[in-house]
Amino acid sequence: MIPRLPASLRSLPGPPDPRHPLSLGLLCGAGALLFTVLMALTAGSSPGTTLNALWSSTAGNTFALGAAVNTAAAILLIACGFVIAYRAGLVNVGGEGQFALGAIGATAVGVHLPEGTPVLIALPLTLAAAALLGAVWAAIAAGLLVRRGVNEIITTLLLNFVGLALLMLVVHYEQLLRQPVTSAETLPRSEPLVEAARMPLLGVSGSPLTVAVVVALLGAAGTAFLLKRTATGLRLSAVGHNPHASRRLGVRVGGLRFGGLTAAGAFAGVAGGTVVGSAPYVLSDDIAAGYGFTGLVAGLLARGSLLAAVAITSALGLLVAGGIGMQMAAGVPATISQMAEAVLVLLVAGTAVLVRARPRAPRRAAPVPPPPGPVPETAVQGSGPAEKEALR
C-alpha cells in the first residue's frame, strides 16, 4: 500500500516559497547540519574531517550502515507509536521508559525459553512480551489521563525515571534477570537471549541488518493503514481535533485516548525488544539511552506522514551512528548527535510560527473538496496534531 503523497508535496509546483513546510523542513535540516559542523569545529575537527567521519561511519561502510539501519528501525517503531497517540492529541514523552520495560519483557522471555524452541514461536513470543510490558507502562499514564485528567506529558516523563530505575533493578539482582555472578568482575547485565529469541539476520553479507527492519516497516505500514484507512483512525483524529465535539457525536473519547497512548507504549516496547534481540543480545542498564527522545523527534517531525517518518528515522539513525563515528575518528564527543537532534526540534518548532502566520483560510472547509492551492493544508499543519486528510 503506497500512502498518498502528503498535501505539502502535491502543492509543490509554483514559485518556491521559503515558508513552505517542505522547504522549511529542509532549511531546518541544513541548519542542524551546519550547527553540527560548527560544533565539531570548536572541538578541533575541521569540517572536512567531520564530514569524512560522518560519511565513513555511516553510508560509506556496510557494517556501520547495517547497524545504523537497525537503530533506525527501533526509532521508527517508537515514532509510529508517537504518531498514533499524537493523532489523538496526546504527546507521549515516555518512549524511553516504555522502551526499557519492553526490553525487560523481551529479556525475561528470551532467556528463559527452552533451547530448542522454533524461531517462529520464540521470536513472536519475545516481541509480544516486549509489547505487553511497554503497553502496561503507558497504560499507567493513560489511565491517569482518562480517569483523573492528569496531563500525560508529565506522567509519561516521570514514568521514564521509574522505568529506568526498574531496568537498573532487574539487571542488578540475580533473582531477577542478572547473569549468575561468578566473580567480582561479573557485569550487571542479563544472560544472552537464547538463539531462537534473537532477531535473525537478514543475510546481507557483512551487514548486521536484522529482521527488526522488516518489523519496523510492517509497523509503519500498519500504522499508516490504521490512521488513513480505518474508522478508528478517523475517530482518533476527531478526538485530536476537538474532543468536545467528538464526545457530543458519540465518539468514546476516553477509550480512544487510552488506546492511543497504550498503543504508543506497545510500539516503544517492541522497539526495546528488537534492540535486546540484536547483538550483543543482553540487557544492560544503559540500553534505553537516547532512544525515547529520538523517537519523539522523528514522530514530531514526520507530522503524521509515515512516509516522512521512514525518511526521517533513517536520517536520525545515521546521525546517531555518525555521532559515534565522529567520536572515534575525529575526537568529537558523541553527544553531538543529540545536540543536533535538539537543535533540529528547536528550529522546526520555532519556525512553525512562519507557517502559522500565513493568512488563515476557512478552517472548517473539511467536508467540501479542497480548494486549489496550498493554503488550507499548510495553515492546518502548523496547528498541532491536525490532519484533515483522514476527514475528507
Binding site: V150, A165, L169, F293, L296, A349
Partner: protein, 307 residues
C-alpha cells in the same frame, strides 16, 4: 531516633533547596501562562557554568554568578521560542533540556579539567539558632548561598503574592492575556521577564547543587530534579507559598536514598532512586483534579490582527 530524624531533615532541606528555588520561579512563570519544561536544562547549564568559572577564577562566588547568568541565557532562548515565536512550550522546553544535557557533556569534555579541585562553598552556622534541636542544623547550618537563596525565594513569594500589583499582573496575564492586554499590561514583556526569572533561578539552583553539594560537575548530575521542580508547582497547585512544603517532601524522598542505607535498612537502591518520581506521580495523580491551573497556561499570546 532524634539523631536519625535530624540527619534526615538536614538532608531533606539540603536536597530540597535546588527544587525549592527553581519551583518558586516556575510557579510565578506558570501563573503568568508560560510552562518551562526547560528547567532541567537551565539547572544543568548552571551546574557546568558555575564549576567552570569557579575552577578558572578560584572563586566560588564568581561561579555562582556565572551559573545564574548561564541560566538566564537558557531562559532567554526559551522565552524567545515560547513567548516571541509562540512555539509549542512543552516541545521546545524538552528540546532545550536535551540540548543542555548533551551540550554540557560536550562542553565538559572540551573545557573541564577533571583533575582540578573545584572551590566549593563552605558552611556558615548561625550562632545559637543552629543549636536548636532537630531543625537547627537543617535550617541554620547551610552554605551562605543557601541563606541568600532562602531570602530570594521569600522575596519572590512576597513580591508576586496576590496582594501586590506585580502579583495581580502576573495572574492577569496568565488567566486571560487578551483582557490583560486591553487593560494595558505589557503581556509579552511580563511573560519574557518571568521566563528569565526561571532561568536565573534554575541557574542558581544548579550552581548550588554543583558548588555547595556535589562540589564538581558530573554528566547529567541534575538527574531529573528540574522536572521534579515543574511537578512541585502542580502539586503545590500553583500557589507560590505552598511550593516550599512540596520541595521539602521531594527533598526528603531523595534524602531517604542516603539515610536509609546509613540506618542499616536494606532496600534495593533502584527503589530509592525511583522514590521521588513515584511520589511525584502520586502527587500529580492525587492533587491535579482538585486544582485549577491558570487558564492561559501554555497558550501563546498574539494581539489580534498583529500577525
Amino acid at each position: 531516633m532524634i539523631h536519625t530524624l535530624t540527619e534526615l531533615l538536614v538532608m531533606s532541606v539540603a536536597l530540597g533547596i535546588p527544587i525549592l528555588v527553581a519551583a518558586t520561579a516556575e510557579a510565578v512563570s506558570e501563573r503568568a501562562g508560560v510552562l518551562n519544561m526547560s528547567v532541567e536544562g537551565m539547572m544543568i547549564t548552571g551546574c557546568l557554568a558555575s564549576v567552570l568559572v569557579a575552577v578558572q577564577t578560584g572563586s566560588p562566588w564568581a561561579g555562582v554568578l556565572a551559573g545564574a547568568l548561564a541560566g538566564v541565557l537558557v531562559g532567554a532562548l526559551q522565552g524567545l521560542l515560547s513567548v516571541v515565536w509562540r512555539a509549542d512550550q512543552i516541545v521546545t522546553g524538552l528540546a532545550i533540556t536535551m540540548l543542555a544535557l548533551a551540550g554540557t557533556v560536550f562542553a565538559a569534555r572540551l573545557l573541564l579539567d577533571r583533575d582540578a579541585a573545584t572551590p566549593g562553598l563552605g558552611r556558615t552556622a548561625v550562632p545559637l539558632l543552629s543549636e536548636i534541636p532537630v531543625v537547627g542544623r537543617a535550617l541554620f547550618d547551610l552554605p551562605l548561598l543557601g541563606y541568600v537563596l532562602f531570602a530570594g525565594v521569600a522575596a519572590v513569594t512576597v513580591l508576586t503574592s496576590r496582594r501586590t500589583a506585580w502579583g495581580l499582573a502576573v495572574d492577569a496575564v496568565g488567566e486571560d492575556a487578551v483582557k490583560a492586554d486591553w487593560a494595558g499590561l505589557p503581556v509579552l514583556r511580563i511573560r519574557y521577564l518571568v521566563v528569565l526569572l526561571v532561568g536565573g533561578a534554575g541557574g542558581l539552583s544548579g550552581a548550588y547543587l554543583a558548588l555547595a553539594q556535589v562540589r564538581t560537575f558530573t554528566d547529567h548530575m541534575t538527574a531529573g530534579i528540574g522536572y521534579l521542580a515543574v511537578v512541585a508547582v502542580i502539586a503545590a497547585r500553583w500557589r507560590t507559598g505552598r511550593v516550599a512544603l512540596v520541595a521539602l517532601v521531594f527533598g526528603a524522598a531523595q534524602a531517604l536514598q542516603f539515610t536509609l542505607p546509613a540506618m542499616g535498612v536494606s532496600v534495593p537502591v533502584a527503589f530509592l532512586v525511583a522514590l521521588p518520581y513515584v511520589l511525584a506521580l502520586v502527587a500529580v495523580a492525587g492533587l491535579v483534579s482538585r486544582s485549577r491551573r491558570p487558564s492561559a497556561l501554555t497558550v501563546p499570546f498574539v494581539r489580534a490582527g498583529g500577525g
